[in-house]
Amino acid sequence: MSEATHIKLAPALDYRAAAPLREELLAHRGKPIVVDGADVQRLGGQCIQVLASAARTWAHDGAGFSVVNVSQDMTRALAHVGMDTYFSEASAS
């Protein structure tokens, strides 16, 4: 089993960050990935979509996908959109 790629999320994940985030994740398609949310201060809806799509895609590929070190700001943003357990379930499935 190959070692998981570690991706550190940027502090500001607003609408401008969505396309670069998608590109960055897509570059590692097929490989297990660990997304680190320690630095996230702002998380917008479109970046959440990118992460949700990635979680779904990685699950479909059968590769590991997990979100770790979630900052308080990120946790709060996910709770606001009803997705506070979304990525923990995604990693579990």
Binding site: G37, S53, H60, Q72, G82, M83, T85, Y86, E89, S93
Partner: protein, 716 residues
């Protein structure tokens, strides 16, 4: 809204109508103004409530309505007199029934003592004044609800349809469906911010819908594919909610509606263990009340394939949900505009302006535009019949299980579009017909095998457009109608005379008579023979017709034909006794110029006309509607050969035909009152009201006398 919730909402709306019908019927009976039809209507109201209640498992409601209905059935079959005392009990029973319906809908409770006392009084009515009917034994004590019901001759026992969710009870809340579009993000707004603002208003349950999220390689990072359903508890001002979305209203689809939610604490997500919030440190005391996301959709593989039918769809077209009242208002206004435009055109024409003048040309363009506008507006309300069809497979499965038959439902033409007002009223007739097809149409598995047929019966439900109408067909490959048995039963019930000769078609049509049923036992859900006459009535109320063709041993096909809309009508403009009238084009088979000798008088007032090799009753429209006393000379008039819903024909005698026109239907009942022989009204270009003929009504006035007259004419 969840489809099941939507069906339940419809059921309760229908219950309200049935309760209103029940009450007015009982009041009429109490005042001595009712007749047999009133008793039938009252019975059908209670029966309909019972049927729906059974499907949703509202057992108290089923139990009470069953007892109530039993008494009404005795009344219907003249075994119980309509006395003042009986009506008194009935009226109180209708109150209790209403209470039970409201309790089922809103989750309250009813006065059980009152309910039990009324049940006892109803039982006394049933047993005291009449020999108990087979159905009269009401369930007692804690006996299972359906224990008193014997399977009918086809082994049909009503089955409670178990819903996944319980009826909404208790607390009122706001349900907000928020579907951002890409431009919402492009303009710098963000769903997370809006949802955070919303959470500040009060306790929220937020459910995310991720069914449209594609895989990462096809995802548009700047698109919008997540949407949310938020239940906001408490009694907040709608304006406060709208204010949050004020600046993004054009950039999202937003539905805000009142809803009733379970008073009990919402359940945690059932599938997953209460996992800790990701791998994060606990949230520090937040400055704002943190909304509690109590349910999240899991992006599991199962969700991706989606068993609920929500997913698997291509990205849907952008849609917007609009209050139907607003659409109706728009349609009304456009109707007015069409009339106004016609009036304007006529006035301009009266001034003698040349057809090639700028004014006339401008008016032509206006006419085209109004017509296009009308078509477009009507298209707003057009919906595919799929919304009705999609409820049917489950129904067929349940009935198949209950009747122990193997059934395959084949559906066709689900995308056929029809006006929403028509769609809403299609559900009941289709349900009845499917139930009938499985229950009575198909043979038992063993009988099928014995007859050399596949063990699995096939039922086909199809929708198609034909001649400007929508046609719904329900066909089965079952045994077909047993005409001998139907005829025998009809004679036994006194519906037809034993010595009358009937064609196969006429015998088949007996099943549409009120009170006809070949079922010898009675069940909680169906079996009293209210099915097909209810179907026929509801179809006729929509301006539709129903027919049946049956092939013994091979199956039956019920065909419904309905107008595509109830707002406009293609009509033939005719005149009779200086009145302008509209005959619905769909009822007209042909127009004739009667010749002397073709018309034969029967007595002082009636005539028949020879149309090829048959005699058809001739109805002078001017006389029938009271516009003139003396019948016109047929050879100076025009005859419209029309056909009723039941297939009966008549010749309508009018003075002249002015042309064909699409007219906007205006309800006569709503604006004046019901008039025999008139279906509705419209406003013509010259501003006058023209009445739209109720062809069925006109034929019905004559049809009972017709058979004897035609035979006389043939003999003479």
């Amino acid at each position: 809204m969840d489809p099941m919730d939507a069906i339940k909402v419809t059921f309760f709306q229908e219950c309200d109508e049935q309760l209103a019908e029940l009450e007015s019927g009982l009041m009429a009976l109490e005042a001595g103004e009712g007749d047999r039809e009133t008793v039938n209507a009252v019975f059908r109201a209670v029966h309909s409530v019972k049927g729906g209640a059974g499907a949703f498992g509202f057992e108290d409601l089923v139990k009470f309505s069953h007892t109530f209905e039993t008494v009404l059935d005795l009344m219907r079959s003249d075994k119980l007199a309509i006395s003042a005392d009986a009506m008194h009990v009935m009226l109180r029973a209708s109150d209790v029934l209403a209470d039970l319906v409201h309790a089922a809908r809103d989750g309250g409770s009813v006065d059980q003592g009152r309910c039990d006392a009324l049940m006892e009084e109803l039982d006394q009515l049933a047993h005291g004044d009449a020999a108990p009917a087979p159905s009269a034994a009401a369930p007692e004590g804690d006996a299972p609800l359906y224990a008193d019901v014997e399977p009918d001759e086809w082994g049909f026992v009503p089955l409670r349809v178990v819903m996944d969710d319980e009826p909404p009870v208790g607390e009122e809340a706001w349900k907000i469906i928020f579907m951002p579009r890409a431009q919402l993000y492009a303009k710098g707004s963000d769903a997370t911010i809006l949802l955070r603002e919303l959470a500040l208003l009060g306790d929220c349950e937020i459910e995310v819908d991720d069914t449209l999220v594609p895989s990462l390689d096809t995802l548009d990072a700047n698109g919008a594919c997540l949407s949310w359903t938020i239940i906001l508890h408490g009694d907040k001002d709608e304006a406060a909610i709208r204010e949050i979305f004020e600046f993004v209203e054009g950039d999202c689809d937003l539905i805000i509606e009142r809803t009733s939610v379970s008073a009990a604490a919402p359940e945690p997500p059932p599938v997953f263990a209460p996992a800790p919030v990701i791998a994060a440190a606990p949230i520090a005391a937040a400055p704002a009340p943190t909304p509690v996301a109590k349910q999240a959709t899991a992006p599991s593989a199962a969700a991706a394939s989606d068993s609920e039918g929500k997913g698997g769809q291509p990205a849907a077209n952008a849609t917007i949900r609009v209050d139907l009242e607003r659409v109706d208002r728009l349609i009304d206004l456009v109707g007015e505009l069409v009339i106004n435009q016609a009036m304007l055109a006529q006035r301009v024409a009266e001034t003698g302006v040349a057809r090639s003048s700028n004014v006339a040309l401008g008016l032509d363009e206006l006419e085209q535009l109004t017509r296009e506008l009308q078509d477009s507006v009507m298209a707003i309300r057009a919906q595919p019949v799929k919304s009705v069809f999609q409820r049917m497979p489950r129904l067929v499965r349940e009935i198949a299980t209950a009747t122990n038959k193997q059934v395959r439902l084949v559906m066709d033409g689900e995308g056929t579009e029809v006006d929403k007002t028509v769609i809403e009223r299609l559900s009941d007739p289709i349900t009845h017909m499917l139930r009938n097809a499985v229950d009575h149409g198909l043979e038992s598995t063993q009988d099928r095998i014995d007859a050399g047929k596949p063990a699995e019966g096939t039922i086909r439900l199809a929708a198609l457009h034909r001649s400007g109408r929508i046609v719904i067909e329900v066909s089965d490959d079952g045994r077909g109608i047993n005409r001998e048995r139907v005829r025998a039963k009809a004679i036994e019930k006194g519906l037809i005379s034993p010595d009358v000769n009937m064609t196969d078609e006429e015998i088949d049509n007996i099943i549409f008579l009120p009170g006809f049923s070949t079922a010898s036992a009675i069940s909680d859900i169906s079996g009293r023979g209210v099915g097909m006459d209810v179907v026929k009535r509801s179809i006729q109320a929509l301006g539709g017709r129903i027919s049946i063709t049956s092939n013994p041993g091979k199956g039956s096909t019920f065909t419904l034909s309905l107008p595509l809309t109830l707002a406009v009508l293609d009509g033939m403009v005719v005149s009779a006794a200086d009145q302008t009238l509209i005959a619905p084009l769909t009822t007209i088979i042909e127009t004739l110029q009667p010749k002397a000798g073709e018309v034969r008088r029967l007595g002082p007032n009636r005539s028949v006309i020879a149309v090829r090799d048959a005699f058809v009753p001739l109805v002078d429209v001017g006389v029938a509607l009271g516009f003139r006393k003396e019948a016109a000379q047929p050879d100076s008039c025009v005859v419209l050969l029309v056909e009723s819903e039941g297939g009966g024909r008549a010749a309508l005698l009018v003075d002249d035909i002015q042309g064909q026109r699409q007219v906007v239907i205006k309800s006569l009942e709503a604006n004046y009152q019901r008039v025999e022989g008139i279906a509705a009204a419209t406003i013509l270009g010259d501003g006058r009201v023209a009445l739209i003929l109720d062809v069925d009504g006109l034929i019905a006035q004559r049809v009972s006398e017709t058979r004897a007259e035609t035979q006389l004419a043939k003999a003479g």
